[in-house]
């Protein structure tokens, strides 16, 4: 929590000029409200003494001006602080991207894409939201509260002390206790929530299978049961947050009674002259002063709710494998059961062998045109080259039928393609890439058996013309056609048996 606040403050510090502007506007808005309350109280008290009207002119103008200023300043503050937060978010994204782009390829290539998207998307959004929701309000509230206490101190020190105590209670202790309690509530329910989510996801992912298998009702009921348990635990833990919320009116009430008492005491001390204006301001001002800390419960919630971002690197769990010798111009097939480490082997080769490039089975299809997706491998692919490569992998007819041909945008990326089309597009990308040795991971899975076998044969045949004879091909496959022309076939073993 402190850590996230520090990160958010760092984002503020990165652009000191703008950050200062945000604080000036925020404090200005709050002080306008406080000023309005103080000047209005003074005005009433002074007017009650029936002075010449001219004496009130300044106060009258000030009250109206402050009434206008608050809204305008707050509007400006919100815009500038959002601007600052969004700039910070972009800086952070670019910085993280640069770092990963320069990091060790082996670990980056194996990163989970969903995880990456979360870290770059949600995590950074949350962190920058903290700037607007927590960092700015906390700093503004602290400055404004001090100003309020200082004003009261000019009239009565004990009253100022009481106000300070009340503001600390309702601005710091209350919100923090409340936020902690609701986090505790979340945590108390976390296991049951996860179970509920897991069961729900299972039911949704395999609804038809579970239904036919007669298990659906059971799984749905498990989700409901876990949800109910989570709710019960949460209720128990949340009770405390209600008490924390009640701290604000309690503190305010106590301060009101205290300043009334202090005000009364001031009038009963003999031989002292207390001005009625000071008395009224003293007793009315605390009513308004609590507005300065009004945003803090939400700020504390935001602070406590933020997840600690998990580190992205490194990717572990790769088993060391013995790497085969491969050379430029080779044609090697790797076969073996799933789980025997074929992909790991390719990743190892990519790192060890200069000129060898790994083409992942689940490589990313970008939400851009077909041509740009092919240019991912090499930036200067011409449309003619692209069409040649697509035809070679059996997508010639498909691209010809697309509304804008090569320039058709793949909306949703891979979602715009069938499994087979995606595989072929990725293969075309690999063919066009400048790699000396192509390391292909299951390039024909999800293709029809015959077409898949044809492609594997062509990839492994130096004379087929699919891959230039002087480039190398190492491919992993489940289905090696018997009449292939590979130089070498590596069989990977894993001694597990099928239970049938």
């Amino acid at each position: 929590m402190v850590e996230s606040l520090r990160s958010a403050l760092e984002l503020l510090r990165a652009r000191p000029g703008r950050a200062l502007l945000v604080l000036v506007l925020g404090v200005g808005a709050q002080l306008s409200a406080l000023g309005l309350a103080a000047v209005a109280a003074w005005l009433i008290a002074r007017a009650w003494q029936m002075p010449p009207v001219l004496e009130l002119t300044v106060a009258v103008v000030a009250v109206r001006a402050l009434g206008l200023a608050r809204g305008g300043l707050r509007y400006a503050e919100r815009l500038v602080s959002h601007d600052l937060a969004l700039r910070g978010a972009t800086d952070l994204r670019v910085d993280r991207y640069r770092r990963l782009a320069a990091a060790d390829p082996g670990s980056v290539v194996a990163l989970d894409r969903g995880e990456l998207v979360l870290r770059f998307g949600r995590d950074i959004d949350e962190l920058t939201a903290l700037v607007v929701r927590a960092a700015v309000p906390i700093v503004v509230a602290a400055i404004t509260s001090l100003a309020a206490v200082a004003l009261l101190a000019a009239i009565s020190l004990p009253a100022a002390a009481a106000l300070l105590a009340g503001l600390v209670l309702s601005g710091a202790l209350g919100p923090i206790a409340g936020a902690r309690a609701s986090r505790a509530a979340e945590q108390a329910a976390a296991v049951d929530r996860a179970t509920a989510a897991g069961r729900a996801a299972l039911a949704l992912d395999h609804a038809a299978e579970l239904r036919v298998g007669g298990r659906l009702t059971e799984v749905v009921a498990q989700a409901a049961g876990a949800r109910e348990r989570a709710g019960r635990r949460q209720q128990r833990a949340r009770a405390r947050s209600a008490y924390a919320a009640a701290v604000v009116p309690a503190a305010q009430g106590a301060v009101i009674l205290t300043v009334l008492w202090i005000g009364y005491a001031m009038t009963t001390v003999p031989l002292t002259e207390v001005r009625p204006t000071a008395l009224v301001v003293l007793m009315l001002f605390p009513l308004a002063a609590f507005e300065a800390v009004g945003q803090l419960p939400a700020a504390a919630q935001a602070l406590v709710a933020i997840r600690a971002p998990a580190p992205l690197l490194p990717v572990s769990g790769r088993r060391p494998v013995e790497l085969p010798e491969v050379s430029v111009g080779c044609r090697v097939a790797i076969v073996g059961p799933s789980g025997s480490g074929k992909t790991t082997l390719l990743l190892g080769l990519a790192e060890q062998q200069p000129g060898a490039t790994f083409f992942a089975e689940d490589a990313h299809v970008f939400e851009t045109s077909v041509l740009e997706n092919l240019r991912v491998g090499r930036g200067d692919v011409t449309p003619a080259e692209a069409v040649r490569a697509l035809t070679a992998v059996g997508l010639g007819g498909w691209v010809a039928e697309l509304p804008d041909g090569l320039d058709t945008d793949l909306i949703g990326g891979a979602a715009a393609l069938s499994g087979g089309q995606r595989r072929r597009l990725l293969l075309a990308r690999a063919l066009l890439a400048p790699a000396q040795i192509l390391l292909l991971d299951e390039p024909t899975e999800h293709l029809d058996a015959e077409q898949g076998a044809d492609l594997v044969r062509a990839l492994l045949d130096r004379e087929s013309g699919l891959v230039a004879a002087e480039r190398g091909v190492v491919l992993v496959t489940h289905q090696l056609p018997p009449d292939h022309r590979a130089d070498r076939v590596l069989r990977m073993d894993m001694s597990t048996s099928i239970h049938l």
Binding site: A40, T90, P105, V109, A207, A246, S338, G339, A433
Partner: protein
């Protein structure tokens, strides 16, 4: 957005109770506010006049302050409890409904439904526990406060009475002026952030190709565009808050100046002036609170809309009650056609699967093979033709009975064990490779003592040796009398068939044919 969703009000008793309770709390709070202001003003004016405040006033002040503490406590607890109950009920309802949708509908709605029932509907919490009570307070508190002001000073009450309705009027005006703008902005923002995340998701791919250098600049560009779009939207979104604050603070200023001037001329007493001064901001406060909670509530309402949209999708196949007189396990597709993305798939499949035989449905990608299974299982109603189980057409068939007789292996099976909660459930599912998953699911299907077996690409992700073992086991089951239907195109699978049926796609006008290639 509608302030109170009528569907929610109609469906949920918990919401109705919550609203009733919140109404009571809001009225009590308003009364407490007026008492605090009146008694504090009395005390202050007494002190300024150098007399002791009246005991009754002080007692009333303490009681009213205590009441406000108690109301805060009660409101919080009540809001939390109501939110939990309502959200749980909705989550359960959505899940129960969505899992019964036809496969293609489910496919379309799965992501949305998963988000909704795991986290999405949780966003209703601020709506239920924060926004709704604030809404009631915004309606109920100002009139009570206004009466309090009027009793002290009619002129101030008049100022508040005139300015207060300005706020909703301005809100409506702003709403009308900016209608459609917010949706367009949000759409553009979603697209820009989608593009950024697309680049991020492609990072491993680009790194593998050694081409990860370029996109950083593009991410910066997209970020700048996103910021400008977002700020454009916020400039408008914050307008309503601006108007609210301007009207509220300016009105308070007007009240203060007005009573100040009348005090000078002795037209109003100090105590009355103080009551008006203390109460004036309280008349606007509920509206401001409502404005602050509006945005947090929006997400929840969007989730609620999404949930009701899902609940409105008609459920998939309804079960009949019929059962065949003699259950044999004969499965017949008669001219079955289902409209797909591009034409019919299958486009008029006619096939017969009999006990004792291994029947293989084969055909290209997207020919409609898996769809043929969905239809046979009663999960999907065909657009043309029908499926008969032992002579009983599917819509008439008792589906629970039928399902108890079928073992089905879908394309991406789950590894849910034979009985939930057993040891294997603890297996981390993500650790399993596709092949291991396939094997576990196959084990389960083969272990089931069902007379009809429907297996969709049972040997996908398996090597030759395992494929052979699986096919042998399936032939064995057929020989023992089971009806075995497979989807597959590998040569080994086709070789294991007694019957191979080609499933062909087509378009809607041409009646398709299921050809028996090999009998």
């Amino acid at each position: 957005m509608k302030p109170v969703d009528p569907r929610l009000l109609r469906d949920s008793a918990a919401v109705r109770v919550h609203l009733g309770y919140s109404t009571l709390l809001a009225v009590l709070d308003a009364v407490a506010i007026v008492i605090v202001a009146t008694t504090a003003a009395a005390a202050v004016s007494a002190i300024v006049a150098r007399t002791a405040p009246e005991g009754a006033d002080l007692v009333a002040l303490v009681v009213a302050l205590g009441l406000r503490v108690g109301l805060t406590l009660a409101g919080n607890r009540q809001g939390d409890r109501a939110a939990d109950t309502v959200i749980d009920q909705l989550e359960n309802r959505v899940l129960q409904h969505v899992v019964t949708l036809a496969p293609r509908e489910l496919e379309r709605t799965r992501t949305r439904a998963t988000v909704l029932v795991t986290t999405g509907l949780r966003a209703l919490r601020p709506y239920l526990s924060g926004y709704l009570p604030a809404l009631l307070a915004a309606v109920l508190v100002p009139p009570v406060v206004l009466v309090g002001i009027a009793r002290a000073d009619l002129m101030s009450a008049a100022i508040v009475l005139v300015t207060l309705p300005l706020i909703p009027v301005f809100m409506v005006l702003i709403g009308l002026l900016t209608r459609g703008r917010a949706a367009a902005t949000l759409d553009r923002m979603t697209r820009l952030s989608g593009r950024t995340l697309d680049l991020v998701a492609g990072l491993p791919t680009l790194r593998a190709l050694n081409r990860a250098g370029g996109p950083a600049a593009r991410i910066a560009e997209l970020g700048a565009a996103y910021r400008q779009t977002a700020l454009g939207g916020l400039r408008i979104a914050f307008l309503s808050a601006l108007v609210l604050e301007l009207v509220a603070t300016l009105s308070v200023a007007l009240v203060a100046v007005g009573i100040g001037m009348r005090l000078v001329f002795g037209e109003v007493g100090l105590q009355a002036a103080l009551v008006a001064l203390i109460l004036a901001p309280e008349a606007y406060r509920p509206l401001r609170t409502l404005g602050e909670r509006y945005h947090a509530a929006e997400d929840g309402l969007a989730a609620l809309d999404s949930a009701y949209a899902l609940l409105a999708v008609p459920a998939g196949a309804a079960s009949g009650t019929g059962r065949p007189e003699v259950p044999l396990g004969v499965l017949q597709w008669q001219d079955v056609a289902v409209a797909g993305r591009s034409g019919m798939a299958p486009a008029g499949l006619t096939a017969l699967a009999r006990p004792g035989r291994v029947t293989v449905l084969t055909g290209g990608n997207g020919a409609g093979k898996s769809t043929a299974f969905d239809v046979a299982l009663g999960l999907l109603a065909p657009d043309r033709g029908r499926v008969l189980v032992d002579g009983v057409p599917l819509p008439e068939l008792d589906l629970d009975w039928w399902w108890s007789r079928v073992a089905w292996l879908p394309q991406r099976p789950t590894v849910l064990p034979a009985a939930a909660g057993t040891a294997i459930d603890l297996l981390d599912r993500t650790e399993l490779s596709l092949g291991e998953r396939q094997r576990l699911a196959l084990d389960r299907v083969l272990a089931a003592d069902a007379p009809v077996l429907l297996l969709d690409e049972p040997t996908a992700h398996l090597d030759d040796e395992r494929e052979a073992a699986v096919l042998a086991a399936l032939r064995e089951r057929a020989r023992a009398g089971a009806t075995v239907v497979l989807i597959g195109h590998r040569p080994a699978v086709l070789a294991a068939a007694d019957e191979v049926i080609a499933v062909v796609p087509g378009d809607a006008v041409v009646p398709g044919v299921g050809m028996v290639i090999d009998g």
